[in-house]
């Protein structure tokens, strides 16, 4: 466990929210005696029942975006984004805005609760039922899509950490039968259609409803019977109960617990964590027993390895790339700005709406490219997506018309500063990268501010200087390599 000090507080806030100002970090440090107490405070929020409303997908997108910018519980939204990627469902196929909005609320309400209950709820989520074809899974035309992704992506993963397959094709085929007959009705309410359900007696050629004869460490070649709590509507719950008992390796570790712990670490910390990081947090939180997401998160945030991305980038530090949505929301929040109106547009330039910018950066909320979600880390970055980030940075820095949607440095820093070194430090601090910059990068920023001379004084109270150089400095930092990372 790291020392409880300002850098630790700031890193904790940064990775569990959308950017962290020095003031907020200091407040967290001052209000809690220990790291553990601070983490408890961050995790004790009551999940909101917010559901983005609107007729078109742009509307619910913009409502959610605005909510993220305003929220006092940013960890909640970080989690909703994670679950949105994890249980990736795309409006592209679902085609119904209200179902996407309902799923969004489902993810929010369950974001830090019981993971097993969350999966059982996703089984019956209307948008998910459309997306992975549960609604087309009928007794005489079974559809395996959901059964496959449930195991492959949502709970177990294709292979366990030791490289062995977690399930067989046979497991998928049988699990698909459990989901036959499910559909949704009015307002997305799940319905079980008994007449469309694949009952074992009707299809003896499909064999018994048993799974994990070989995989899962159950040690029973006859397999696990998912009609044990009754055949019919209950099967989908029993299937989940069985999956959550799946174990791997000679140590018979719980597969779902380690898989989800790894995914959450990859999201909040960095990709490719060590097995010991994963296993220790799963064990310390008893995740395999309680399925309590908040408890698991607490162990992640207490662990030393969580703080490995805190240091400035170097050959030994790990770094993570900000998602496009992180880039946009963090920027607006750190600069204490708002986006304008129904389309959540930036004021500077053409009143470009944030959704177009995000799409060009490679992330369209409610429309993940596939059930695999988005590709993270360096896959976010190419010439075209970087240009979209640079364009957004320019638009933000060009917002000079006054009001809450403009960049107002006077609210963020002391404009009577004249020393370029201090000004660069202040801007870098506002954007949360002051502890990340090397001496060379700092010099480059000072040279920018002073048009190459390297020395001041710089008069920020002069309108032209402020609009050109100070706003320009914000843009340059927002476009810098360090700011793309976290």
């Amino acid at each position: 466990m790291p020392a409880w000090n300002l850098p630790t507080a700031r890193h904790l806030l940064r990775r569990t929210g959308f950017g962290a100002t020095r003031v907020a970090a200091q407040a967290l440090l001052d209000s809690h005696a220990t790291l553990g107490a601070a983490i408890d405070a961050l995790l004790e929020f009551k999940p909101s029942k917010f559901k983005p409303g609107g007729r078109y997908v742009e509307d619910i997108h913009n409502k959610w975006l605005k909510y993220m910018i305003k929220t006092r519980q940013p960890l909640q939204e970080r989690l909703v984004l994670f679950w949105h990627d994890h249980f990736a469902t795309s409006y592209d196929k679902v085609g119904q805005v209200d179902l996407m909005a309902l799923q969004n609320r489902l993810l929010r309400v369950n974001c830090k609760g019981d993971f097993k209950a969350l999966v059982k709820a996703i089984n019956k989520d209307a948008a998910m039922m459309e997306f992975l074809d549960t609604v087309r899974n009928r007794r005489n035309q079974p559809n395996e899509n959901y059964a496959r992704e449930l195991e492959e992506l949502f709970t177990l993963g294709v292979k366990d950490p030791l490289g062995n397959d977690n399930y067989d094709q046979e497991d998928i085929v049988q699990i698909a039968r459990a989901f036959s007959g499910w559909d949704y009705g009015n307002k997305g309410a799940a319905e079980f259609n008994d007449g469309q359900h694949d009952y074992a007696a009707d299809y003896p050629e499909r064999g018994p409803k048993r799974i994990f004869k070989v995989r899962g460490g159950f040690g029973n070649a006859a397999g696990q019977d998912f009609t044990s709590a009754g055949e019919g509507a209950q099967e989908i719950d029993t299937v989940i109960d069985i999956i959550f008992q799946h174990r791997y390796g000679p140590g018979l570790r719980n597969t779902v617990a380690d898989y989800i712990a790894r995914r959450l670490i990859t999201y909040f910390a960095f990709s490719d964590p060590s097995a010991s990081f994963v296993e220790s947090v799963a064990d310390a939180s008893s995740f395999a027993g309680t399925w309590d997401i908040a408890a698991l998160l607490k162990q992640i945030f207490l662990h030393d390895d969580f703080y490995l991305t805190a240091a400035p980038p170097s050959a030994v530090t790990k770094k993570s790339v900000k998602w496009p949505i992180d880039y946009v929301v963090t920027t607006v929040r750190l600069l204490d700005m708002k986006l304008k109106g129904k389309y959540q547009a930036t004021q500077g330039g053409d009143y470009r709406d944030a959704r177009s910018a995000l799409i060009n950066m490679g992330q369209s909320l409610f429309e993940p490219p596939s059930v695999f979600g988005w590709d993270w880390e360096l896959a976010w970055l190419s010439s075209s997506t970087l240009l979209a980030r640079y364009g957004f940075a320019r638009d933000i820095s060009n917002s000079r018309n006054g009001g809450a949607t403009s960049l107002r440095p006077e609210r963020l820093m002391d404009l009577s500063l004249t020393d370029p070194v201090a000004i660069v430090a202040a801007v870098a601090d506002i954007l949360g990268v002051d502890d990340q910059l090397s001496a060379g990068e700092r010099t480059a920023l000072i040279n920018y501010l002073t048009d190459g001379s390297g020395v001041g004084p710089v008069n920020l109270l002069d309108d032209n200087t402020r609009f050109e150089k100070l706003h320009g400095l914000f843009a340059v930092v927002l476009q810098s390599p360090a700011y793309q990372l976290q």
């Binding site: 795309s90 592209d92 196929k93 997306f131 395996e144 492959e152 397959d165 094709q169 998928i172 980038p313 170097s314 050959a315 030994v316 530090t317 770094k319 993570s320 330039g349 060009n360 993940p368 490219p369 596939s370 059930v371 695999f372 590709d375 880390e377 360096l378 896959a379 976010w380 970055l381 190419s382 010439s383 075209s384 997506t385 970087l386 240009l387 640079y390 940075a393 320019r394 820095s397 060009n398 090397s438 060379g440 990068e441 010099t443 480059a444 920023l445 040279n447 920018y448 048009d451 609009f467 050109e468 320009g472 843009a475 340059v476 476009q479 810098s480 390599p481 360090a482 793309q484 990372l485």
Partner: protein
């Protein structure tokens, strides 16, 4: 038995299509050479007709056995959309039903057909046709009706060809990357006008741009020198991006300096230039090709693959017949006239160019593919048509083996929804053309992919087999040598 998703992913390497080669492979000469050998000196353009082009009024029965069915479903007189006199090119167009012709708005395409430059591919589509614009478009762009895949078919081609995040192999004319080019391996530049493309500097303080460039470059050079892999990647890609924003607009300057009379033909209305969105899009592509062919910008930034689109094809009403002021006529004329001018421009660029040089034979080095997300029903409604299924595609260029490919859909035997029936049955005289055979033929015969199957999974890979499904590829359709 269908293979599992896992097997499919590992077999095709698609799981790693989004994974990037390490930053140490920024400049791998072997990779560059391999890429150059694959596509040689060629260019490829995709033109998407947005909205569902009415194929039945694009390629039309003349003295074909389907003419009576065409006439009984489409009327003349007010609201009627029947093409009474389809345009017959000098080289007769024949399919399995007899003689067919073009919509008169496509007269420029008919001219090119007579030059042997146009392959008309009939009955393009896929099984279980989806009539939603968004879903069907996505299917065409992803090259996959049955699975949720996060990449476009051209995107998979780019990822498979080893391009890096700092390379720019493709340009899309428009506002965002088109679905067929989506991938996470490399960069697709997006712009409407080359002249407006550039680094996003401050709108009001342009004098500061030089100092901003200096700061940007210094920061990204520092990142390149950092031991951290993510920083190195950002440093290299950022620098390439800045270079691209400086280099690409010079292509506009070069073209305008050398070919301003041609530029006017795409744009101006006096003397009568085309002055349409599609024409302007092709002009921007011509600008890039003209510069790239002469090595005017660094090779790694030289795009060869393009996409543009023309909208307005969703003609549920007021479609119009053969009158020149009709909606569909104007759409057809816009597209055909633009393509003809584009190839004339390319041919002119090549005249006088030394043999073997980049500019030589440009009109034979560029191939254009035209498609729409679906066709429309043979039965007209009040004065237009509703969404249909399979429809014609075009592949156009100097290297193309012109002619008619595929079969005319059977408009005499439509299903309960009013759509022609899609079939892959070899015994069926009206057998459809799976769009993936067209993509595959292009990948194999134009883009140098010896075996396109990893990029275009069969329907059997997803558990779909039977007479309607695409279970046996034909990547040698013949429209490209």
């Amino acid at each position: 038995m269908a293979i599992s998703r896992r097997q499919f992913l590992s077999r095709t390497g698609l799981a790693s299509a989004g994974a990037l080669l390490g930053p140490n492979l920024f400049r791998n000469p072997w990779m560059q050479q391999a890429m150059a050998a694959t596509i040689g000196d060629r260019y490829f353009v995709v033109l998407f007709l947005d909205g569902g082009n009415d194929g039945q009024n694009t390629i039309i029965p003349v003295t074909s056995s389907l003419r009576p069915a065409y006439e009984s479903n489409r009327g003349t007189g007010p609201g009627g959309i029947r093409i009474v006199n389809p345009l017959v090119p000098a080289t007769p167009m024949l399919d399995q039903t007899g003689q067919i012709g073009f919509h008169p708005g496509l007269h420029s395409l008919a001219d090119m057909y007579d030059d042997g430059m146009v392959a008309v591919i009939q009955g393009g589509g896929y099984p279980d046709y989806n009539l939603s614009h968004e879903v069907s478009r996505s299917i065409w762009e992803r090259g996959n009706p049955f699975s949720s895949v996060g990449t476009g078919w051209m995107g998979r081609y780019l990822a498979n060809s080893g391009y890096l995040g700092s390379d720019i192999p493709a340009v899309n004319i428009g506002g965002s990357v088109s679905g067929d080019f989506v991938q996470t391996a490399t960069s697709v530049l997006v712009f409407d006008r080359l002249n407006d493309f550039g680094f996003p500097y401050d709108y009001s303080y342009s004098g500061d741009s030089g100092t901003k460039d200096a700061a940007f470059t210094a920061l990204h050079n520092a990142a390149l020198a950092n031991g951290n892999a993510a920083m190195q990647y950002l440093g290299g890609t950022g620098n390439s991006t800045l270079t691209a924003t400086n280099q690409y607009p010079t292509l506009h300057d070069l073209y305008e300096a050398d070919r301003s009379a041609w530029s006017d033909q795409y744009q101006n209305d006096t003397p009568a230039g085309l002055n349409t969105g599609t024409a302007r899009g092709f002009r921007e592509i011509a600008k890039v090709i003209y510069g790239v062919a002469q090595g005017a910008i660094p090779a790694s930034l030289s795009a060869r693959f393009f996409e543009l689109s023309n909208g307005g094809y969703d003609t549920h009403s007021n479609q119009g017949a053969d009158a020149a002021d009709g909606d569909h006529y104007r759409l057809h004329a816009e597209v055909a006239d633009s393509i003809k001018l584009f190839f004339q421009d390319l041919a002119d660029m090549s005249s006088g160019a030394p043999m073997g040089s980049g500019l030589a034979n440009l009109d034979s080095k560029v191939t254009v593919m035209v498609f729409s997300e679906f066709g429309r029903r043979i039965e007209q409604n009040d004065n237009g048509t509703d969404h249909g299924s399979q429809g014609p595609m075009f592949v156009i260029g100097g290297a193309v083996n012109g002619g008619v490919y595929g079969n005319h859909p059977n408009i005499d035997d439509i299903d309960d929804n009013g759509n022609t029936r899609y079939s892959q049955d070899n015994g069926n005289a009206f057998r459809s053309t799976d769009f993936r055979d067209v993509y595959g033929t292009i990948l194999k015969h134009w883009l140098g992919i010896a075996n396109p199957l990893p990029l275009l999974p069969l329907d059997t890979d997803f558990g779909y087999a039977g007479v309607d499904y695409w279970t046996a590829p034909n990547f040698n359709m013949g429209f490209l040598p």
